[in-house]
Amino acid sequence: MVTQVTSFGRSGLYDWMIQRVSAIVLSLYTIFMVGFLLLNPDLTYDQWSTLHEATWMRVFSLMVLLSIGMHSWIGLWSISTDYIKATGARFFFQSLCGITMFVYIVWGIQVLWGL
């Protein structure tokens, strides 16, 4: 057993499961968005804002934002533990990723919910 305190869920199985579930959410959202844009070639601002004002869309978008955060955290954590061997530099990179992820989620909520 290798102890790790900087991985997302402290457990390999948990990280692996989150990575798979978030990938499915991101794929569904991508398919939905591509489909929506193809079905509405002359998209207006009203149509776009009506879509994003619906509660189900807000739930879907928030789920996607959180999925991006978790998915990228686990991915970048893996990359940093592969390639950054100096502990200080690795911890700095991981902290920077964590902060960036948090900023993007809060900012994303503001943008998508029109707060």
């Binding site: 057993m1 290798v2 102890t3 790790q4 991985s7 402290r10 457990s11 390999g12 199985l13 990280d15 692996w16 499961m17 893996s78 533990t81 592969d82 390639y83």
Partner: protein, 234 residues
Amino acid sequence: MLVSIYRYNPEKDDAPYMQDYQIDLPAGKDLMVLDVLNLLKAKDTTISYRRSCREGVCGSDGMNMSGKNGLACITPVSEAVKNGKLILRPLPGLPVVRDLVVDMGQFYKQYEKIRPYLINDAPAPAIERLQTPEEREKLDGLYECILCACCSTACPSFWWNPDKFIGPSGLLQAYRFLADSRDTATQDRLGDLDDPFSVFRCHGIMNCVSVCPKGLNPTKAIGHIRTMLLQNAT
């Protein structure tokens, strides 16, 4: 034929280098790479490599032949040669002791971690612990591993984290004991593997499957371990 061999003697050389040898192979015969090395060794006795059984059983002569890991004794020259040249290097990712001889310490440490022996707390029966043919069948494709290290040293996850990631060979053996109906330490074994490195550093690129000289499938075994961990935790 031109043979290019990785040379490094830490007592004499500052850095490793490739040394070229020209060799005439007997016509009409497809020698094994080990035979070529033996012929070269007769000309230059300083070339170092491990070998023993010369028939793919002992796993001593694992090496990188023109970019692909394998056992020199069962790899025909015709398969290993590229553009008329045979390039021989030590297994990647492990410290080189000399020429084609690597230090397998890290590889064995990972093997030791998975406790590669049967654990059963029940008193031993008078003769042997019995299995049904179906239970025994589950060990096929697992017990045949000869620990040559071709798979683990072809795995980038093992290159980057050889001290934390068990590696394909160790995980194949871990599953061999998880799948054994006579073993009673399944929960303990699974508990030891549920961290972000030991199993989950495998990203399924299947280099291990492509190089295994015994035709085994460590990626499939790792998939089974993941399923067992998931079943255990949900």
